[in-house]
């Protein structure tokens, strides 16, 4: 009886506040958002009509939505691959006990502390002025025009900046994983005659599998929902060629004033990201190794 009372008290103390926050800031807005998808509300008007699943129908019939979904896939895939490779490479180098490794770690991590918006503006300046000036002075035609005014190069610019920003963060997670690889295993491998590549391939990578899972999961969700860099670096331009899905949803809701449609697009994005993440996590969990 006393035990039961105590557990109720603990429940009230620990779970209720957290539940309260979760319900008010996650659950209620989510349900309200779902409700809006069935209306033609423009976000401001005093009244609205129920239109059933019309918004969802228009999401899939809208070519521009499918297009920006494709662009998001390209951007997301490239950013996930490059930022993880780069982050892992830096982590491997910075766990080799080289001189000044803490300074390097700090340096590579810094881009993550700068917010996406500011970062976007800084790189905007680099692409639009610094690189073009360099191009004009050196006569290299590739750099003479801004990356941001060419549809293909603007997408590359987005991937470069995202990779640059995220790799430092991933590096930290990878370093944590690499430090925890038991020394005796590596020593044993060395005695067996494993070179640096074999040590990475057969010892380190399998041992940091859980770090890889976390990093890939993080990058997939973050790149799929990338917004701030998209806004400040390219603003969807030139001529909407880099309008990725989150930015597209924002424009639908707040520029086109189709709040219901924008919300329906957001729900579709939510489902896509959820499916990808679940697949990714279950697949990579299967191969994790415990030391």
């Amino acid at each position: 009886m006393v035990k039961k009372k105590a557990s109720i008290r603990i429940f009230l103390l620990f779970v209720v506040p957290a539940m309260f926050i979760w319900i008010t800031v996650v659950l209620i807005p989510f349900i309200y958002g779902l409700f809006i998808t069935f209306t033609d509300w423009n976000g401001l008007s005093m009244d609205y009509n129920f239109i059933g699943f019309d918004n969802y129908k228009s999401v899939f019939l809208d070519n521009t939505f499918i297009e920006s979904l494709k662009k998001t896939f390209v951007y997301s895939f490239s950013s996930v691959v490059f930022s993880n490779l780069l982050g892992l490479a830096i982590a491997l180098i910075l766990t080799c006990k080289i001189k000044g490794q803490n300074l390097f770690r700090m340096g590579f991590f810094t881009p993550n502390i700068i917010g996406g918006i500011i970062l976007g503006y800084i790189w905007n300046f680099i692409f639009a002025f610094a690189l073009t000036s360099f191009g004009r002075m050196s006569g290299i035609e590739f750099f003479e025009k801004s990356f941001l005014t060419d549809p293909k190069k603007a997408m590359i610019a987005l991937i470069i900046v995202t990779t640059w920003q995220m790799s430092g963060y991933l590096m930290v997670i990878y370093i944590a994983g690499l430090i925890n690889v038991p020394k005796d295993v590596i020593e044993a491998a060395e005695i067996d005659g494993a070179g640096w590549w074999k040590k990475i391939r057969y010892i380190k990578l399998p041992m940091i599998r859980s770090s890889i899972t976390i990093c890939v999961f993080l990058t997939i969700t973050r790149t799929f929902m990338a917004f701030d860099i998209n806004l400040s670096l390219t603003a969807g331009g030139p001529y909407k060629s880099t309008e990725m899905i989150s930015y597209k949803i924002y424009q639908t809701a707040f520029s086109n004033m189709k709040f219901g449609l924008g919300q329906a697009q957001a729900v579709v994005l939510f489902i896509i990201v959820a499916i990808i993440s679940i697949i990714q996590v279950t697949v990579s969990r299967r191969g994790e190794v415990e030391a």
Partner: protein
Amino acid sequence: MKKRFLSLILVLAMVVSLVSACSKEGADKKVESSDKGTTSDASKEETNKDDSSSEKVEISFYSTQTGMDDKFEDIIAKFEEENSNIKVEYIAAGDNQLQKWMSLYASNEGPTVSLMDPINIWENQDRMLVLDPNENPWMDQVYESAYASYIFDGDIYAIPISTQGYGLLYNQRVLDEAVGGTFDPDTIKTRDDLINLFDKIEASGTPATMITGVNWSIGMHYLALTYAGYRDSREIEKTVVEESRAGTFDLANDEVFNSLMDTFDLLAKYNYNKSDPLIGNIDLDAEALATGKVGTWFMGDWSWVQLKDIADRDTEFGILPIPVSNDPSDERNLKIPASQPKGYCIDTSQNTVEQQEAGKKFIEFICFNPYAQEIISDTMGATLPYENVTVKSDSPLADATAWYSEQGRTLDISNFILLPSDFWYENGASMEAYLSGAIDRETLATQVSNYWKNN
């Protein structure tokens, strides 16, 4: 026991922070009221007199005019000084003026007075107060024609803040040197005259003109002229929009569209930014015109805000109309598009009658008080569309707009309110693609027509 105590403290701390976060709103209000307390303490004798009669009315003012935040705060301070029973909260719009507005309304904090674009007011007129000149005699000070963008079904919904015109801004010194003498804008009556002028400017060693490749400039200010300004009457413009929506309007073969685009091609051919037309940097472009690196610029009198602070700039600037034909008797070639792009409206849906009345007082003050007029005219470099304005703007571009207005040489573009609020964003992208050479005119016409079908 110790642990238990510690966890209890932690939980308490969390609950307290949660509660305080949730009731931030309440806390703010408390601070305000305690502020009030101190002011009334300071001037107890004054407040004691009319304590019973006057309750302080709190209103809010939402502004979408960029770069004016400090100035509006100054005007508000002066207003509050003169109207001690009204408190005005200033809310500045961020990058996306609609988003902030929508979230304010969503949280039931719709601003009492909002300074918005005509289309935003039109789309939300069911929330707005109809301003009746019979009840509000001060409204007569506004030029009647300046209400054009804010009259819906015969009712006035907002008071315009300024009249602004645009066209080809020019640097007088550069053009004087090009023509060898004093350049007179009235010598440009046709498109060929303009080509002639451009050739002369280029011959003098300066690039002739400049387009800033941004969606709001070429998508709204240029392309939208297809729907408002260059046709014979507002009724015809309305029909064009209706037919466009219905998908029956043949844009590709439309005379106005093609005339405008012919001139656009001309501007693009002589464009100072031709090598990278979408670079779109308004500050660099302003600098280029101000220092005479280029002769003309497709932009509006509002850019005086950027021009005036540039060191070593030239002093004389003017505005040229955009000629759309080779007929010297075509009046459209002599006029510049001008309108009242933003107006003050009052919300009725989330504000009490007292707040609405206070809002009216505030609008009257901000429009007609000499102190406010001087600030607005100075910072915006704009022409005020009111009678008996004593302040004089130092902007030669505002003077040019005023001169065209006085001569009756402005194109009425108030039908811009017929264009949906995303017109500039969606079609601006098509215009950017056209300017960069990615699509031809036919594709442009198809894209714009498709835009209408989806709206």
